[in-house]
Amino acid sequence: MKRYRVQRSMAIIIIGFITFWNLFPIVSYATFITPGTPITPGEAITPGEPIEGGEYIIPGEVLPYGDPIQEGEFENSGEPIIEGEPINEGLFMIPNVPEFPAYQPIGGDAASPGSPIQSGSSSQSGNGMEGGKATSPGSPINGGNSGAGGSATEGGNPNTGDTLNGGSAINGGNQSGDGEAPTSGNPVNGGDASQGGNAVDGNAINGGDGPSSGSGGHGNAGNSGEGEIETKSFLNIALQSTDGSQGLYGHITGFLKDMKNYGLKFADDVAQGAASLYAGFQFRQLESGNYSVKGKNKLNNRLSNWFYDRYRQYTFNGESKAMGPQVRYIRQDRMNAFLSSKSIPNAGTMGGLLKNSAQSAKSAVSQSWNVFSKGFWKPSSSVKLGGPAGIILNSAGSIYDHSNGFSDLGGLATTDFAASFTTDAAIGVASTAAGSAASAMASGAVAGSVVPGVGTIIGAAAGLGVGIATSYFFNGTNVGGRIKKGITKGIKKGYDAIAGGVKKGVGAAKEAATWAKDKVSSAFSKLGGIFD
């Protein structure tokens, strides 16, 4: 028991030590805590004075309601917007037929389709809808005098006053005045719509004055106006039989023109030259100054022989002659005559060189176009589609255009037709003369060379190339088209001036005819003379 007590005392001592060790630092730091001053009791609370009741509130006079709100007048919102009419101008774009494989680019740039259709300016919406003035709440209700209560009830805004004062509720611009409500702008603007421009890549649609939208409300759908010069495709120019702008008639006359250009003239020249080359036909100058004629007497193929025989034919002193089996040695004069008939000027004597060139151009122009020459009226000229037939073919297009497809011949009595007719004829003259002159000039130069025989083909190629290019220049290019148009206008002015004078009498008409004959003949003479 005693031992138990000792152990208990030791435990208490140890706990005391541990407690002291832990609390001593705190106690030592808490020495600043000092006891405050004791609280002294305050004074006792005394009750205040009792609250007195106020005066009774007397309600004020009853407020009368205001006048009912009168609706404002609705303004007319303008005329309804009428959409522009769709554009009917231009041609439908015909998709291209796939090209021949030979023309398709390999790996390079694809066939450039030209610029895409430019949509032009989008529709301009014009002035938007202006909402007009908002609802103005008007004057609020004055609550009146509230008696003694002051402003007891302020009514806020029960009365909207000019609540529905529409004002310019829907202001579509100047609707009432045809205004520019929604200006449709240029719905489909082919380039500069207002100026025609090039709607579809280049000159596909020469819109002239495009669809000018005019006024939105009741604007004009569009004025087609005058377009620019419409360029023809090359195909129509090179192969006129493909030109269907004048219907079946255009195809027929075009076919005949193609036959003249490609079938009769060029093919005939080349076929004759090829046949003569195949037969070994050539001249060799002898020491005596004369020439020996070499070449086969006859070709086995009938067709080739027919061309060969025609090649050997020529005109000498007005008589038709031919080089052949019996004619193997010729003099200089016959040589000259033969070369002259083949448009190959004499290679030996230079005197006839330019002369032959000039004669070639003169005869081609005269026989094809000069109505006052005898050669013009020869059946042989018409057989070759020159002469009167050539005039008709080259100018019938003007007749078609000015007679409404031959249905109204009254249009032929106008100076418009006369000017167009003359221009077509003049271009025909220019093409014929240029091609013929080029052929003569090219073959003439080669004729004097070491291989005079190729002059035929060289001349034919150069002449046909220049002839087609001349025709393309006037009918296929913008510059040429403007020139053609300018010529037509100038001629028309001249005809208009002359027309007044001719009407004065038959005598004046006869004088005019004589004058025209002299001038035309002189002009053709001078035209050929430029090559002298």
Partner: protein
């Protein structure tokens, strides 16, 4: 062969006029190019100077003079006639094919000029002569095929005309080197 050529008979003016005419017209295919027009006309002017020089040097040998004049004329005509097609097909594979053909026909005829000359004089006796004899008419046939190929197109442009001119240029190129053969040598060739 050795006749004297007077200036008024020298064909300098008409031939220069021809080159001016072709240079002018070919500048408008497919549409006008004023720079090309200036180049073509300048080329024609240079040719006129060249013609005068040739005339002064060779005026006592007419055949030689006209051969050289024709040589210059044919080469310039070739330039004028072939440019349109290259303007049109530029940027496509056909352009390079055309360049290759042109380069070949610029070079090869010089290597075979005497054979070409014999072929032209006697087409039935030499292979090249037969080729020449067939090629010239084939231009028409080939041109017809080209035209037929463009019938289906609504916008054939000036391609067909330029191809035709290109083929004409090929004829000019194939013939041009023959003009460099001297008259004496040509006589020898004819007598072979």
């Amino acid at each position: 062969m050795n006749q004297e050529v007077e200036f008024k008979h020298s064909r300098i003016i008409p031939t220069t006029f021809l080159l001016i005419l072709t240079g002018f017209l070919m500048s408008f295919i497919p549409e006008v190019n004023w720079g090309l027009l200036g180049f073509n006309l300048g080329l024609a002017a240079v040719c006129m100077i060249l013609f005068i020089v040739l005339w002064r040097v060779h005026r006592y040998q007419s055949k030689r003079y006209f051969s050289l004049l024709s040589y210059v004329m044919l080469n310039v005509l070739t330039i004028h006639f072939t440019i349109p097609v290259f303007r049109i097909i530029y940027g496509t594979a056909a352009f390079w094919a055309g360049i290759v053909i042109l380069a070949a026909l610029v070079l090869l005829p010089y290597l075979f000029s005497e054979k070409i000359a014999q072929g032209i004089q006697n087409p039935g006796q030499t292979g090249l002569g037969k080729i020449y004899k067939i090629y010239a008419p084939l231009i028409i046939v080939f041109g017809t095929v080209l035209f037929a190929g463009t019938i289906g197109s609504s916008n054939p442009d000036a391609l067909a005309i330029s191809i035709f001119l290109f083929l004409c240029g090929m004829i000019f190129l194939s013939v041009a080197p023959v003009m460099l053969i001297t008259p004496q040598r040509m006589e020898e060739l004819e007598n072979q």
